[in-house]
C-alpha cells in the first residue's frame, strides 16, 4: 500500500482533472491546444496506469494497490479502492482506449472540441473508478455517473436519430442500476451496516434474499452487457454515436456489465447463481446464435458490428457461468480481446465514414483498390472478429468452448456455432465492402489512411496479434484471483 495518493486514485483523477482543465480553456478558437491537452491528459492517464501492471503481484489473489479514505464515515461509506487480477487489466484497457479515442477524434470533431474531449476524459476516469471501487456506494456513484458523459457524447455529436438513441441508452441503463441501488442498501443492512463489497462476499443470505438480489443485480448488469433480450439499446446507441463514442461503448462500458457479474453476482449470491445458471446460459446462447444470425442480415456496418458485440458478450457471460477456470478466464480474455477488436472495427468504419459519410454496405465495394493499406489492417481485425487462430479473438472463444465441453457438450456445440456465424457475417461484410470492382466514383476518390489513422490502427493490430500469439502474461495475472473467486462460489452461503 502506498502512502498519500496511490496509483489507483491517479488513474481516476488525472483524466478527470485534465477534462475539467480542457473545459476551462473555452471555445473552439483554442481547438488545437485543447486537442493537445486532451492527448497529454490521456497519455498521462495511461502512464499512471502502467505501474498497476508492472507492480502487480500475480501470485496473490488479494486486492492490491488498496487505498482507504474516509468519505462519509458517519454513514459507513468509504473511499475504498483496490484491484485484483480481474479488474486490473480493465483499468489498463480503459486508459489505453482513451488515448486512441482522443486520437480518433482529432480531425473529425470540429465543433465544441473542448466539450467532446473533456467528456471522454472524464468518462475514462469514471470508468476506471468503477473497476477500482470496493465500496458499494462508491461503485454505484461512478457506475451511474459514467452514463452522463456518454449520454452527452451520443446526443451532441451523434447521427440524425441521436436524441432517441441517447435517451434510450440512458433510461435503459438507469432502470437496471436503480434496481441495484435497492439491492446495495439491502445488503448494507444484512451485512450489519457495511458497504464493503468484500464484506458482502462473506455474508450469509437466505435463498429468497439471494434470488431477489440476483434479479436486482442481474437487471443492472445484463442491461449493461447487454444480454438478449435487453440488448435493443445497443444497436441504436452504436449507430448514432460518433466513432469515439462507439469505441468506448463497445470496448469499455460493455465490460463494466460483465465485470459486475464477477464482482457482485457470483460471489455475493453463489447459490442463486448456481440455481439460475440455466437462465443465463440460455440467454447467452440465444445471444450467440440468434444475434449472430441477426448480424448476418444487417445492411449498416455499424449495426452489424454492434450485433456482433452482443454475440461476443454472450460468449463472455456463458464462460462465467461454467464455474471453471477455463470458462471464466476465457470470458475475461474474450472481454479484453473484444475491447481491442471492436474498438478497431469501429475505428475502421469511422475511417470510411469520415470519407464517404455512409455506413451502408451497399454504398461501398472495391475499397481495396483505393485504400490498400487500410484494407490490410481491416482484414486483420475482421479475421480477429471471426476468431481466426493467431489473433486475440481466437484465444477467448477457444477457452470458453473448452470449458463448456467439460460441463455440457451441447452448450459447447451451440457456442461453437459462433465460429461459423462470426466468420460469415464479418467476412461477408468485408468482402462486399473491400473486394470487387470499384463500386462508384466516391469509392474511386477515396484516399488511403493518413499517418495518424495508421498509427491508431497499427497499435491495435499489434495488441490483437500479441494477445493472440502469446496470451500467457494476461492469463497469469488473472489465475490467482479467478481461482479464489471459484473457491468462493463453490461454497454455499445459504442461511436458513
Amino acid at each position: 500500500m502506498l502512502e498519500g495518493i496511490g496509483y489507483l486514485s491517479l488513474t481516476i483523477w488525472v483524466p478527470i482533472v485534465a477534462g475539467i482543465l480542457i473545459l476551462v480553456t473555452g471555445g473552439d478558437r483554442n481547438a488545437a491546444g485543447q486537442r493537445a491537452l486532451a492527448l497529454l491528459g490521456a497519455m498521462l492517464g495511461f502512464l499512471v496506469a502502467v505501474p498497476l501492471w508492472t507492480g502487480f503481484d500475480s501470485a496473490s489473489a488479494a486486492m492490491q494497490f488498496e487505498e482507504v479514505g474516509a468519505w462519509v464515515p458517519a454513514f459507513s461509506i468509504w473511499y475504498h479502492l483496490g484491484v485484483d487480477g480481474i479488474s486490473m487489466p480493465f483499468v489498463l484497457l480503459n486508459s489505453f482506449t482513451t488515448v486512441l479515442v482522443v486520437l480518433a477524434g482529432w480531425q473529425v470533431i470540429q465543433t465544441r472540441v473542448a466539450q467532446y474531449m473533456a467528456a471522454f476524459l472524464i468518462q475514462s476516469g469514471l470508468i476506471n473508478a468503477v473497476f477500482c471501487a470496493l465500496d458499494g456506494v462508491l461503485f454505484y456513484v461512478f457506475f451511474e455517473a459514467m452514463l452522463i458523459p456518454l449520454y452527452l457524447i451520443i446526443g451532441m455529436w451523434g447521427g440524425p436519430n441521436r436524441v432517441y438513441a441517447a435517451i434510450k441508452f440512458f433510461l435503459y441503463t438507469l432502470l437496471g442500476s436503480l434496481m441495484m441501488l435497492v439491492a446495495i442498501i439491502y445488503l448494507f443492512f444484512v451485512s450489519g451496516g457495511s458497504f464493503e463489497i468484500l464484506e458482502w462476499h462473506r455474508v450469509g443470505l437466505t435463498m429468497t434474499a439471494q434470488m431477489l438480489l440476483f434479479v436486482a443485480f442481474f437487471f443492472a448488469f445484463a442491461v449493461k452487457v447487454p444480454m438478449w433480450p435487453v440488448h435493443t439499446w445497443l444497436p441504436d446507441a452504436h449507430v448514432e454515436a460518433p466513432t469515439g463514442g462507439s469505441v468506448v461503448l463497445a470496448a469499455i462500458t460493455l465490460k463494466v456489465g460483465a465485470y459486475g457479474f464477477l464482482r457482485f453476482i457470483l460471489p455475493i449470491v453463489p447459490d442463486a447463481s448456481h440455481e439460475l445458471t440455466w437462465l443465463i446460459v440460455a440467454l447467452s446462447l440465444v445471444a450467440v446464435v440468434y444475434i449472430g444470425m441477426v448480424a448476418l442480415v444487417q445492411s449498416d456496418m455499424k449495426k452489424l458490428i454492434a450485433y456482433s458485440s452482443i454475440a461476443h458478450m454472450g460468449f463472455v457471460t456463458l464462460g462465467f457461468m461454467l464455474f471453471n477456470p477455463l470458462g471464466i478466464e476465457g470470458g475475461l480474455i474474450q472481454m479484453i480481446s473484444h475491447g481491442f477488436v471492436s474498438a478497431a472495427l469501429f475505428l475502421c468504419i469511422g475511417v470510411m465514414y469520415d470519407r464517404m459519410h455512409s455506413r451502408q454496405i451497399a454504398d461501398y465495394g472495391g475499397v481495396v483498390n483505393t485504400m490498400p493499406r487500410f484494407a490490410a489492417l481491416f482484414m486483420l481485425f475482421a479475421m480477429a472478429n471471426a476468431g481466426l487462430p493467431g489473433t486475440s479473438g481466437f484465444v477467448g472463444e477457444f477457452m470458453v468452448i473448452l470449458g463448456a465441453v467439460k460441463v455440457n457438450f451441447w452448450w459447447a456445440a451451440a457456442a461453437a456455432l459462433t465460429l461459423i456465424f462470426g466468420a460469415a457475417y464479418t467476412l461477408w461484410m468485408y468482402k462486399r465492402v473491400i473486394f470487387g470492382k470499384v463500386a462508384n466514383e466516391h469509392v474511386a476518390d477515396l484516399k488511403d489512411i493518413d499517418g495518424r489513422e495508421f498509427l491508431v490502427l497499427a497499435i491495435l493490430a499489434v495488441c490483437v496479434l500479441a494477445m493472440g500469439l502469446y496470451p500467457m502474461p494476461v492469463t497469469d495475472v488473472m489465475h490467482a484471483s479467478v481461482n479464489q473467486l471459484l473457491e468462493q462460489v463453490a461454497q454455499s452461503k445459504l442461511v436458513y
Partner: protein, 482 residues
C-alpha cells in the same frame, strides 16, 4: 404575566426580523428608495441568520410558557430558511426591477413570510404553529397576486387562497379534536396523552386524518396537490422561486412538529396515510411532469414528487428517516432555488423564459449557464455525483432499514420516470439547435450570475463531499428528538 427576559433573548431572530420588515415598509414610504428597501431586506435577513446562529444551542430550550421552542433542528432550519430567502431575493432583483415590482410592499411581504416560517419552525404549541402558518400563507397569497392586472396571476392567487383557507380549516378542525382529547394545545401534552392511551382511538384517528389533509395541502402532496401547478405557473416567476424554496423547509418543520413532537406515539396510524400520500405524490408528480411544455409547471409537478420522497423519509418513523427527510428538504431547496433561479435569471423585461423551447440550444450560446442548469436537473433526477443522489440514498436507506423494501422499489421506479423529464431539459439545452431569436439577454445581473454559479457548484461539491451536510442534518434531528 410578563415572560422573563431570557425568553425574549431566545426569540431574538424573530423579533429582529419583525422590526426589519416594518423598517423595509417604512423606507420606501419615506425615502422612495427602492434600492434602500432591497438592501435593508437582504441585510435584515442576514442579521436574522446571524442571530439564529447566536441564539442557537444544541440543547432544547422552551420559552413563552411552552409556545416556543428553540432546538438544534429548528436553528438549522431557520438559518437555512434565511439563507434561502436571501438567495431568492438576489436572484429575483433584476426580474422584479424590470417589472416594477421591486419595492417595500413585495419585500415586506417576503419578510413577513419568512417571519411566519421562523415562528412555525419554533412552534411547540398548536397556537404558535397555526399563527406562523397563517402569517406565511397570507403573505404568499398576496405575493402571488402582486400583478393584479395579470389574469393568470389573479387566478392562481384566488385558487391558492381558497384552497389554502380550506386546508387551514381542515387543520384547525383536526387540532380542535386533538385539543378535545388532550385538554391542551401544547404539543408535548398532546404527545403525552397519546402515549398513555387516548380515551377514544376513533377521535384520534379522525383528528389525524384532518391534520394530515391540512399538512398535505400545505406541502403540496398528492392527493392535495391541485393548487400547486397552477400557482407555480401563474405566479410571477420570482414568487414561484420563493414559494419553491424556503417555505419547503418550514413545511418540513411543520410535519416534524406535528407528527413527531406531537403525535409520535400514534405513528402506526399516520405511517400508513403518509405511505399512501407519498406513493400518490411520486406517481402523479412524475407522470404529470412528463407532459408539461412549460418549465414552471414541470418543476411544479416535480416538486410534488419530491414532497413524496420527503414524506417517505418521515413515514419511516425512525431517527434515520427523519434525518433523511430533513436532508432531503435541505437539498431540495438548494436544487429548487437553482432551477427556478435559472428561469428567473433567463427572463428579461417582457420575456418570460418559461417555455421549455426557450432553452433550446442554450449550450451553444451560454455553455456555462447550460452546464449549471444541467447540474440542477441531473441532481433533481437523483444522479450521482450530485447532491440529489445522496438525498434519495438516505431516504431509501431509511425505508429499507425500517423494512419497507417494496416502498423503496416503488420510489426507485418513479425516480426512473422522473429521470426522463429532467433529461429532456438537458436534451433541449444540449442537443437541440438554438432558436433563431436569442431569448436570453447578453448582459445581466452579475450578482445573480455569480450566485447561480455558486449554487450549481454547491450541488456538485456537496455531491462529491456529502459528509458535512448529511451529518449536520442527522445531528440536529438527533439532538432535537433527545
Amino acid at each position: 404575566m410578563i415572560p422573563p427576559l431570557s425568553d425574549f433573548i431566545i426569540a431574538l431572530p424573530e423579533i429582529a426580523l419583525l422590526l426589519v420588515a416594518c423598517l423595509v415598509l417604512l423606507i420606501e414610504a419615506y425615502t422612495q428608495s427602492r434600492q434602500g428597501a432591497y438592501l435593508a431586506a437582504v441585510f435584515g435577513l442576514l442579521l436574522t441568520g446571524l442571530l439564529v446562529v447566536y441564539t442557537g444551542t444544541p440543547e432544547t430550550q422552551g420559552a413563552f410558557n411552552g409556545l416556543y421552542v428553540n432546538d438544534a433542528m429548528g436553528a438549522l432550519l431557520k438559518l437555512l430558511a434565511c439563507f434561502a430567502a436571501i438567495v431568492a431575493v438576489i436572484y429575483s432583483r433584476q426580474y422584479l426591477a424590470d417589472r416594477g415590482m421591486l419595492g417595500g410592499d413585495y419585500l415586506g411581504l417576503l419578510l413577513f413570510a419568512v417571519l411566519g416560517m421562523l415562528v412555525m419552525i419554533s412552534a411547540a404549541h398548536f397556537l404558535s404553529l397555526y399563527l406562523g402558518l397563517e402569517l406565511l400563507s397570507l403573505s404568499l397569497y398576496a405575493m402571488v397576486a402582486m400583478r393584479r392586472d395579470d389574469v393568470r396571476s389573479s387566478e392562481a392567487a384566488m385558487k391558492y387562497f381558497v384552497l389554502g383557507a380550506l386546508a387551514s380549516g381542515l387543520l384547525l378542525y383536526g387540532m380542535s379534536l386533538l385539543y378535545g382529547l388532550a385538554g391542551s394545545l401544547e404539543l408535548g401534552a398532546v404527545a403525552e396523552t397519546v402515549r398513555t392511551g387516548a380515551r377514544s382511538e376513533m377521535v384520534l384517528v379522525f383528528a389525524l386524518v384532518f391534520v394530515l389533509a391540512g399538512l398535505g395541502f400545505k406541502l403540496g402532496a398528492a392527493p392535495f396537490h391541485m393548487w400547486l401547478p397552477d400557482v407555480y405557473h401563474g405566479a410571477p416567476t420570482a414568487v414561484t422561486l420563493f414559494i419553491g424554496s424556503a417555505p419547503k423547509l418550514a413545511a418540513f418543520a411543520f410535519v416534524m412538529r406535528l407528527l413527531v413532537d406531537g403525535l409520535q406515539p400514534a405513528y402506526g396510524d399516520w405511517q400508513q396515510m403518509l405511505a399512501v400520500m407519498a406513493v400518490a405524490s411520486l406517481a402523479i408528480g412524475n407522470l404529470a411532469a412528463i407532459m408539461q411544455t412549460n418549465i414552471k409547471r414541470m418543476l411544479a409537478y416535480s416538486t410534488i414528487s419530491h414532497m413524496g420522497f420527503l414524506l417517505l423519509g418521515v413515514m419511516s418513523a425512525s431517527l434515520a428517516g427523519y434525518s433523511a427527510a430533513m436532508y432531503y428538504a435541505v437539498t431540495y431547496v438548494l436544487m429548487s432555488l437553482g432551477g427556478f433561479g435559472m428561469v428567473v435569471y433567463l427572463s428579461r423585461a417582457g420575456v418570460e423564459a418559461e417555455e421549455l423551447d426557450d432553452y433550446k440550444g442554450l449550450n451553444a450560446r451560454h455553455p456555462w449557464l447550460a452546464a449549471v442548469m444541467a447540474m440542477f436537473m441531473l441532481s433533481m433526477a437523483g444522479l450521482p455525483p450530485f447532491v440529489g443522489f445522496y438525498a434519495k440514498l438516505t431516504v431509501l436507506q431509511a425505508l429499507v432499514g425500517a423494512g419497507w423494501i417494496w416502498l423503496a422499489v416503488v420510489a426507485v421506479f418513479f425516480s426512473l420516470v422522473g429521470a426522463y423529464y429532467y433529461l429532456r431539459v438537458v436534451k433541449i439545452m444540449y442537443f437541440d439547435a438554438p432558436a433563431a431569436a436569442d431569448t436570453i439577454p447578453a448582459s445581466h445581473a452579475g450578482d445573480a450570475r455569480i450566485l447561480l454559479s455558486a449554487n450549481g457548484l454547491a450541488v456538485l461539491l456537496l455531491g462529491i463531499l456529502p459528509q458535512p451536510l448529511m451529518t449536520l442534518c442527522a445531528y440536529s434531528v438527533q439532538m432535537s428528538l433527545r
